[in-house]
């Protein structure tokens, strides 16, 4: 298998940065494939700029001239003799123009075919296509008939509650949730008035209102031989401003029956569009376990490691095998979920000050020490966090035999990665994962807004303060009552001040 891959792909250029560049590099090393990383001048000291077999500078300048400069990246790939390009996530990963250019240049793009990216890249057309192959969509009426009775009839058909939304809407204006049939007409008129005033247009759409929805997604992987496999679900309900914050697998909201249905639906989508490579099908699921297609992401996801933890599969390796035109080396029945994995995303931001982004120099990252815990970090001690890139510093991924163990390992491990020198959401992540609604599995997409009070910082106790004072005193040159300066025992140790 290995030599078969190497005949096709013996050197990969990674068109990304930070933790995902390092992640792809790792699999390259395991497979005996040479890796080429890219970096910009301000990232010279970052690990991804140093740890590949070849590290090439993109110089300085805006993203359009560096990580998003398609022609330049392809030129570098050709020049250094790479046979394939891995785009990571973000940046050019879902850019069909780039994928086409890579292929035209005689290189392999590690990702799906451009036509799949285009189809799934458009939220509207993808839903129409999915409807054609009988994939469940959120029931709704998006048409031109705006007569009161007609709209009410549509709402009655979907069943209450429903959501009335102004098509020109935004910021909640012209939006009404309707809980009972008899309240529909009044809410419709009020929404239309509001929309007319706010947007000068009172066209509305009606959608079924999903209460306390969960975000459930399914990892799929397809090869060029018509094999479409799924690697089970991930629940990513804990989000803030549509940014995922905590992800886990398995989802405790799925019964065996729902799991079977939702994963089969995802596989049907992959085979229905003759997909190739790694993809994620996102669904929204209501309290009754009914799920609806949202979108498909045609790339490796940020949260892929939790799937790797419970299935034991290296998803980047499978991407590379599929891109090399080889069949996936397993059958669906051989892929099993074992234990429970949780990922928390460490962001450079201050949760206690309106989530203001933070910049500065990381003096010490720390190392998680428990078994089956992964810290996928783009930063090491001494690196500066600037405003130029995404505020995600690292992902902490903890595996445990069950959910409770995964939770306690996450709480423990977060204490081992302080990311000193910069404000982070580390403590906030602990508040979420340690909260009783999270522990009870009562998760939904508005979790952090609903539980804002519960997730507030708590004051330090006197004992915590005393421990801080003790640490400071033990760590500093101090004076005896006589005024004589003495060294603390810590200072006899070498390497203490290694920043």
């Amino acid at each position: 298998m290995k030599s078969e891959v190497l005949k096709k792909i013996d050197k990969i250029l990674i068109a990304n940065r930070g933790e995902i560049s390092l992640r792809v590099m790792k699999t390259c090393k395991e497979m005996g494939i040479k890796s080429v990383s890219l970096f910009t001048e301000i990232e010279r000291d970052y690990p991804h700029a140093n740890l590949a077999d070849e590290c090439i500078s993109l110089g300085e300048g805006p993203l359009s001239e560096t990580y998003l400069n398609q022609d330049r990246i392809i030129e570098i790939a050709k020049k250094c003799g790479a046979s394939a390009i891995h785009p990571g996530y973000g940046f050019l990963s879902e850019n069909s123009v780039f994928a086409n250019k890579v292929t035209s240049a005689g290189l392999i793009f590690i990702g799906p075919r451009p036509d799949s990216m285009e189809l799934m890249g458009d939220k509207k057309t993808s839903k129409v296509e999915m409807g054609k192959i009988s994939i469940p969509l959120i029931p709704g009426y998006h048409g031109d008939n705006q007569e009161d009775d007609f709209l009410k009839n549509e709402a009655d058909k979907m069943g209450y509650p429903v959501l009335i939304k102004a098509t020109a809407g935004g910021g909640g204006k012209g939006m009404r949730a309707v809980w009972k049939e008899e309240e529909f007409i009044e809410a419709l008129n009020s929404a239309k008035r509001e929309a007319k005033n706010a947007f000068g247009n009172d066209i509305v759409l009606i959608e079924k209102f999903i209460q306390n929805p969960r975000h459930i997604e399914v990892q799929v992987m397809s090869d060029t031989h018509g094999n479409h496999l799924h690697f089970f679900e991930r629940e990513c309900s804990i989000q803030r401003r549509h940014q995922k914050v905590v992800e886990e697998t398995p989802s405790i909201a799925l019964t065996d029956k729902i799991r079977n249905d939702i994963t089969q639906t995802a596989v049907n989508i992959a085979s229905g569009i003759n997909y190739e490579g790694a993809g994620t099908v996102e669904f929204i699921m209501d309290a009754a376990g009914e799920f609806f297609f949202l979108e498909m992401n045609t790339r490796l996801q940020v949260e892929h490691p939790i799937t790797e933890m419970v299935t034991g599969c290296d998803l980047v390796q499978l991407q590379i095998l599929a891109a090399a035109g080889l069949p996936l080396p397993m059958k669906q029945s051989e892929i099993k979920q074992s234990g429970h994995a949780i990922e928390v995303r460490v962001y450079s931001e201050d949760p206690d000050n309106n989530f203001m982004p933070a910049i500065g120099t990381i003096s010490h990252v720390g190392t998680p020490e428990l078994n089956n815990v992964r810290l996928d970090s783009g930063y090491v001690d001494g690196n500066e966090v600037t405003i130029n890139f995404d505020p995600m510093l690292a992902k902490l991924i903890c595996w445990g035999v069950d959910r409770e163990t995964a939770i306690s390992k996450t709480l423990h491990s977060l204490d081992e990665v302080p990311f000193f020198g910069i404000k982070t959401n580390r403590d906030y992540l602990k508040r979420i994962v340690g909260s009783s609604p999270f522990r009870e599995g009562d998760t939904f997409t508005h979790f952090v807004e609903t539980h804002a009070e519960l997730l507030k910082n708590v004051e330090l106790s006197d004992e915590q303060k005393a421990l801080g004072i003790a640490t400071f005193l033990l760590n500093s040159k101090s004076t005896k009552a006589s005024g004589e300066t003495i060294d603390s025992s810590w200072q006899r140790l070498q390497g203490f001040r290694n920043i």
């Binding site: 405003i387 801080g468 004072i469 003790a470 400071f472 005193l473």
Partner: protein
Amino acid sequence: MKKKLVLNGEEVEINVLTNRHGQVEFTFNGRDYSIKANQLGPHKTFLTGTLNARVIHTDHDFMVAGKELRVEPPNSSRSKNRTDTGGHMLSPMPGKILQVLVKVGDVVKKGDSLIVMEAMKMEHTIKASEDGVISEVHFGEGQLVAGGVDLVDLNCEQEA
């Protein structure tokens, strides 16, 4: 020996009795503490004694029993209270002004949104720190600003 320290920006007073050979004894808030350090690595120590805890540390930053603490001697430049800006709303970091929501003379309440700016690809709202009247707006929409600069001035001593 009485000693003042700044703990997460707040001044505290302690009485240090001894501090040698990795053993410290002090009084804080009416309680005596005797704590010993067992160092396990350049950044890691176990504290034992009155309280037991695992500590990860650099010079001033400590992770103690899962809480981050910064302890400094008083008057060190970094321990200045940075929240009192005397009616000046400062930019928290370099970024771009997206929206200016107030003009000179506007009466605002504490917590009202004044300016929306973008930094690190995310939006942030600068809010009024006190009730008052806007006396100056230093930037317009679309302008780039550095970190720590004065964005909006607020006159807080307005009589009704």
